[in-house]
């Protein structure tokens, strides 16, 4: 059986299936770990309602913990409090940037201006320029938007604050 500290150690090695540069802990998806005598319980919170990685993450977490000796493992999904990019740690943000994805650079919005808004201007993860333009509010996954750097002309993805 694993202790909670050991379980956290294992989980910190479980990569996000879409962005393997960061772990499921880095993104704040794993909310708690409880080691009880009869089983190990991990609580996760899904990022977006339709995120197709959620089930993969559940399976990967269970597999990793079972391989490390935990038995039985119970993975519980909890919706509240809702996942927010505010849970992404600064260290994780740095890893995202190194991977080529601009991390969310503002707090999650609590309302949305729909007219005459100025899209956020994240820095280009490659050259650091702030001269970026938004190509699309949605990207390769629900959580990201697509930008292009006007300085080095390369496209990059931006993790949307939510």
């Amino acid at each position: 059986m694993l202790t909670e500290a050991q379980a956290w150690g294992v989980l910190q090695q479980v990569p996000d299936p879409e962005i393997p540069a960061v772990s499921v802990c880095d993104l704040g998806i794993v909310r708690s770990v409880q080691a009880q005598p009869e089983r190990l319980t991990v609580v996760i919170t899904p990022t977006y309602s339709g995120c197709p990685a959620t089930e993969v993450i559940q399976a990967t977490i269970r597999e990793a913990l079972e391989q490390a000796g935990a038995q039985p493992v119970h993975v519980e999904t909890r919706l509240a409090p809702a996942w927010t990019t505010d849970w992404i740690t600064p260290k994780a943000a740095a890893k995202l940037s190194a991977w080529g994805i601009a991390p969310p650079h503002t707090a999650a919005p609590s309302e949305t201006q729909v007219l005459r808004f100025v899209p956020p201007a994240p820095s280009c993860p490659r050259c650091g320029s702030r001269e970026s333009e938004r190509l699309s509010q949605f990207g390769s996954t629900a959580c990201k938007a697509l930008y292009r750097c006007r300085a080095c002309r390369e496209p990059f993805e931006y993790f949307k604050p939510i």
Partner: protein, 249 residues
């Protein structure tokens, strides 16, 4: 059917059916970025419908899970408003429908965060974040197309003239809404109308579109009385599950 169950089914079916309509754009978007935008929006909605229909299945207590409710009900059992089952027709009508619907959703989700149904409240807190992005995307395009070329404005005005009568159904008083409000499970559609008008009108005006007058018009999707389009939608959505019951992959 209890009012509580019916209230949840309405919200879940709205997400399911609009998710189905938007997913029809997959591979057919006018530009790649918008193909991605519409299908990502569809994905958010389908995810919300899974949570809502899963919850409805538990409330119903007849061992129907999210898949059984999504794919195996008969047409009159669906409780989505008629607005969301209408064919996409073109990008203008698709975008304008997203504007009208997601503005409603933002205020509905905001109110439902205080629901005494804790599962519904949790779904609301999650979904409002996504709805805000849907609304912003739709409003942005509404302004660009409305205040655009003669062609784009004509299409947007035609879309608004066509869709506007169907929005009345979102706000009509009805017993299910009243019961939900009394039990503090939800809020009536009627209570959201003022906020919705205040959100939608400035966008339409900025888009230089003429807002149609309210004329007598009734659509009854919420009551299971659907338009002629619903049968075709369900035939496409359900045929795989009906042809291969219990199929998994």
């Amino acid at each position: 059917m209890s009012s509580h169950l019916e209230y949840v089914l309405r919200i879940g079916d709205n997400a399911l059916i609009l998710g189905q309509r938007l997913s029809e754009w997959c591979g057919h978007g006018p530009v790649l970025e918008e193909d991605i935008a519409l299908t990502n929006t569809a994905l958010d909605l389908i995810g919300q419908s899974r949570l809502l229909l899963g919850h409805a299945g538990k409330l119903e207590g007849r061992e129907r899970d999210e898949d059984a409710l999504a794919f195996l009900r008969a047409e009159p059992e669906y409780r989505n408003c008629s607005l969301v089952e209408l064919p996409n027709h073109d990008f203008a009508r698709t975008i304008l429908r997203n504007l009208l619907f997601s503005a409603f959703q933002v205020y509905l989700w905001d109110a439902l965060r205080a629901s005494t149904d804790l599962e519904l409240a949790a779904i609301a807190a999650r979904s409002i974040k996504e709805a805000r992005y849907h609304l912003r995307h739709a409003a942005d395009w509404t302004v660009r197309l409305g205040d655009g070329t003669a062609e784009s404005r004509a299409r947007m005005q035609a879309a608004l003239d066509y869709l506007w009568p169907y929005t009345a159904e979102l706000f009509t008083a009805n017993a299910v809404d009243d019961d939900a409000a009394t039990a503090c499970i939800g809020v009536t559609g009627a209570s959201l109308e003022t906020a919705w008008q205040q959100a939608v009108r400035p966008v339409l005006e900025e888009a230089t579109l003429a807002i149609p007058a309210r004329t007598p018009f009734r659509s009854g999707g919420k009551l299971g009385i659907h338009t002629e389009h619903m049968g075709h939608l369900l035939a496409e959505m359900q045929h795989l599950q009906r042809a291969h019951p219990g199929a998994q992959w």
